[in-house]
């Protein structure tokens, strides 16, 4: 048995989904002082692959995030030493920890979402609701949507808000089945597989490690002893591929000097289908401001906007916050003062170029070039929209004035093509020249790197997009690469002007306001690209589109896209990726989440991993792309890739 080495593998316990603003309303066996405290409700995956719902009070969260050791995670006690709390933990922390509520998903029997999505109740025993939570933002339906991706449910007949959990452990069953279907191996080796299947239920973690060690063993040592020249590695690769076929995996077998690495690239968890919400309404927006006009629940506002956008009637007001023109925490009175100051600043910059004489202009070629570019583009911007149509349309003059003033505001950047596209919907909505200018400044702040002289920002995004697509839709990424389109240049227009050319004005306003929230992660706009491409995947692959056809097809999608469907798909893909067990540092960086290579620290280190001497490299997760674990089997040292194991346990 090789159980001892299992202890060396770091515990992994992670949040698959978290939702803030959740109050504990009632909980059986809890002291009254815990009730009504605010916290977050999460779906957590334990180190052993089991999942639970977890509620954490907010005052715990700060402690929680810097101790990522997850020592307290509930572990599967079968076949494994029960872990104890580590000694250096303070009693405060232990006390706070005791307030966490955990509901293992395989114990969950029923749950209910009621009171207009404000309340959720959970039960692990028939007839009693053990825990009741109140959702401040009235968005419990989102939690339900995510939860349903992890448990199979049926609705009860008498109450459509109550869900009964039918099959808790569906994934391991899928895996069992796929292994059971195998029959490639000779008698001897089939036993290994069958043992694996039968042991898997009781001891999933060790069984998997063990099984892989044996498979590895066969790959590497099987050749010599038994079958002479037969290339078993191919068979094993095939076996693994087939075994994971239900999960659509790809497998590569690479040979190194000492051992064989079977690298199963696991697929993502199933894609959740997340419904879009209703737009932030006037009532809600007003309710989120205090009597003096400060926005009190900034995160809540962002969440709501991310989920459903903003009602058209209040966009004019909300956009100014989203685009960092109006600070959320300012009172109405302070905003008035700010607006006055910003108005003066705008007009003084406008005066700078307005007062330039023809003579000055003739000797100022850089200025002249920018001006002529602006003029040309203003005349070619959204002219089919009634707001900008017709000769001598005064709104074109406003576009021109704002862009020229922006040239004075940021002369180094000046005017770059695409800016007029960014500006037009803002002016259309806001109407007012000064407001539009400052909101434009805010938007440009978010996407300034798109317009770099060296285009480094665009290139980086295209690279990131390619990496994300490879992770989310490897088949499509492979097809594109085989058609000379791996550089993703055909997505250039999407990224440069944030899909402005792909949607109507109505839809682009929705898409932009959602993206401005910065939720649910950095670079969510790349997920929009992935979502669009993923929905075209079948066409692109089945028709075997080449270099030119790919570009044409993508260009022709303009005005044929459904913004809500794409947002929903993009969010689904986001959740697939974020909960993927094999999330690489490359992807983590794109998402703006901590990498596993550098341990999460409160202060970011200036030079990570350079002069660090880490004695325990082999078990330190994520230092390299492949995480290897060394196991002993029949006296032989065998290394396998832990990612594989996580994938199987996911």
């Amino acid at each position: 048995m090789s159980c001892s080495s299992v202890e060396d593998i770091p515990e992994q316990c992670k949040d698959l989904f978290t939702q803030d603003g959740v109050l504990l309303k009632a909980s059986i066996g809890r002291s009254i002082s815990d009730l009504n405290s605010i916290g977050m409700l999460c779906i957590v995956q334990n180190s052993d692959g089991t999942k639970c719902i977890e509620w954490r009070p907010n005052d715990l969260i700060t402690i929680d995030s810097d101790t990522q050791d997850q020592e307290w995670a509930v572990v599967n006690t079968i076949g494994r030493r029960q872990r104890t709390l580590s000694g250096n933990m303070t009693s405060d922390y232990a006390a706070a920890r005791a307030r966490i509520i955990r509901i293992p998903l395989d114990e969950l029997k029923t749950f209910k979402c009621s009171r207009n999505n404000q309340q959720m109740q959970f039960s692990t025993k028939q007839g009693v609701w053990q825990n009741t939570f109140y959702f401040q933002h009235g968005n419990a339906e989102i939690f339900v949507a995510y939860l349903k991706n992890h448990v199979k449910t049926a609705k009860t007949r008498h109450d459509r808000n109550t869900y009964v959990v039918v099959e808790p452990n569906i994934e391991s069953q899928v895996l069992n089945r796929s292994f059971a279907e195998l029959d490639i191996f000779t008698e001897n080796t089939t036993d290994v597989v069958w043992n694996l299947v039968s042991n898997f239920k009781q001891r999933p973690y060790e069984t998997t490690l063990e099984a892989f060690s044996k498979l590895t063993d066969i790959v590497y040592y099987g050749n010599e002893g038994m079958n002479g020249k037969r290339d078993v590695s191919e068979e094993v690769a095939e076996l693994l591929t087939k075994s994971m076929s239900a999960l659509e995996d790809t497998t590569t077998v690479t040979r190194t000097d000492e051992y064989e690495v079977i690298n199963v690239k696991p697929t993502l968890p199933p894609r959740p289908c997340i419904p879009r919400g209703t737009p932030l309404s006037t009532e809600k927006w007003e309710g989120l401001q205090d009597p003096e006009g400060r926005v009190t629940e900034i995160d809540g506002v962002r969440q709501l906007i991310f989920r459903g956008g903003v009602a058209h009637s209040i966009r004019n007001s909300v956009w100014k916050y989203l685009l960092d023109y109006h600070p959320w925490r300012m009172t109405d009175a302070e905003i008035k003062i700010l607006q006055k100051r910003k108005t003066e600043e705008y007009f003084s910059m406008k005066l700078q170029w307005r007062s330039m004489t023809d003579g000055q202009e003739s000797r100022f070629s850089e200025y002249r070039d920018r001006k002529s570019l602006v003029e040309k583009d203003v005349n070619r911007t959204d002219r089919t929209h009634p707001f900008f149509a017709g000769d001598n349309n005064p709104n074109l003059m406003v576009l021109q004035d704002i862009l020229m003033t922006y040239v004075m505001y940021n002369f180094d950047l000046g005017y770059v093509q695409g800016m007029s596209d960014i500006l037009a919907p803002l002016l259309l909505l806001l109407g007012n020249e000064v407001d539009t200018f400052w909101c434009f400044v805010g938007f440009m702040e978010k996407i300034a790197s798109n317009f770099d002289m060296d285009q480094a920002g665009m290139k980086q995004q295209l690279v990131n997009l390619q990496q994300l697509l490879t992770f989310a839709s490897p088949e499509l990424a492979k097809h594109l690469a085989s058609k000379d389109s791996g550089n993703m240049y055909f997505c250039f227009r999407w990224l440069l002007v944030w899909f402005k050319r792909e949607f109507s004005h109505r839809d682009i306003m929705r898409l932009w306001e959602v993206l401005w929230t910065g939720l649910p992660c950095a670079n969510f706009h790349l997920f929009i690209c992935v979502a669009i491409l993923d929905s075209e995947k079948d066409v692109l692959i089945s028709k075997d589109y080449g270099f030119t056809e790919i570009l044409k097809h993508v260009n022709d999608l303009s005005m044929c896209l459904d913004v809500d469907r794409i947002l929903s798909t993009a969010e689904g893909i986001y959740h697939q990726i974020i909960s993927a067990p094999h999330l690489s540092d490359q992807i983590r960086i794109i998402l703006g989440i901590p990498t596993v290579g550098s341990r999460p620290e409160p202060e970011p280190e200036p030079e990570p991993q350079t002069s660090q001497t880490n004695g325990n490299v082999e078990t330190d997760p994520g230092q390299t792309d492949m995480e290897e674990v060394t196991l002993e089997y029949n006296g032989l040292q065998i290394s396998i890739v832990t990612k594989t194991v996580w994938a199987l346990l996911a």
Partner: protein, 211 residues
């Protein structure tokens, strides 16, 4: 499947922003002109099949965004092009001066023997003219490139320009074919079957570009 064309040529339109590249392409592919045309972002192409000395020639014409900083991306699409239209605006001195830069750009990014042509566009705007026809002709002589003044608006010389460029490419191609084939060989030896071309247009193009 019916044979739809004998040749496929990849052409490219380049020049400063606003000189009328998209308008010229629109005129040629749709025979229309739109004064308030949308500016080009990134890259796109249009197709038109023309008849040239009894042969069907399918022109795949690529339109690019003009601003300098986007060139790193757009030049990726230069590869494999067989003909390039260099466009300037006769009412804009700067766009004319920049033709030299564009030629240098081609030399760095397109195959050496690509056919070229210079177009002085917007010649309908005589009152605003900054570049005389003579200066255009002089430049063309200097670089030994064909030249014509065009107007996308009035549909002047646009057809002529594309036909001329296509004919030059065809002639060059046939000459090279003859050189590599023994004389007296089958006349249609260089032709590809239409179906074949449609299935693999890119690989065919890349072969042509090194002809």
């Amino acid at each position: 499947m019916a044979k739809t064309y004998d040749y496929l040529f990849k052409l490219l339109l380049i020049g400063d922003s606003g000189v009328g590249k998209t308008s010229i392409l629109f005129r040629f592919s749709e025979d229309a002109f739109n004064i308030s045309f949308i500016s080009t972002i990134g890259i796109d192409f249009k197709i038109r099949t023309i008849d040239l000395d009894g042969k069907k020639v399918k022109l795949q014409i690529w339109d690019t965004a003009g601003q300098e900083r986007f060139r790193t991306i757009t030049t990726a699409y230069y590869r494999g092009s067989m003909g390039i239209m260099l466009v300037y605006d006769v009412t804009n001195e700067k766009s004319f001066e920049n033709i030299k830069n564009w030629i240098r750009n081609i030399e760095e990014n397109a195959s050496a023997d690509v056919e070229k042509m210079i177009l002085g566009n917007k010649c309908d705007l005589d009152a605003k003219r900054q570049v005389s026809k003579e200066r255009g002709e002089q430049l063309a002589v200097e670089y030994q490139i064909k030249f014509v003044e065009t107007s996308a608006k009035d549909s002047l010389n646009v057809e002529f320009a594309f036909y001329t460029l296509a004919r030059d490419i065809k002639a060059k191609m046939e000459k090279k074919q003859e050189a590599s084939n023994p004389p007296g060989g089958r006349t249609g030896a260089h032709q590809l079957r239409a179906n074949e071309q449609q299935r693999k247009p890119t690989s065919w193009l890349s072969r042509c570009s090194v002809l």
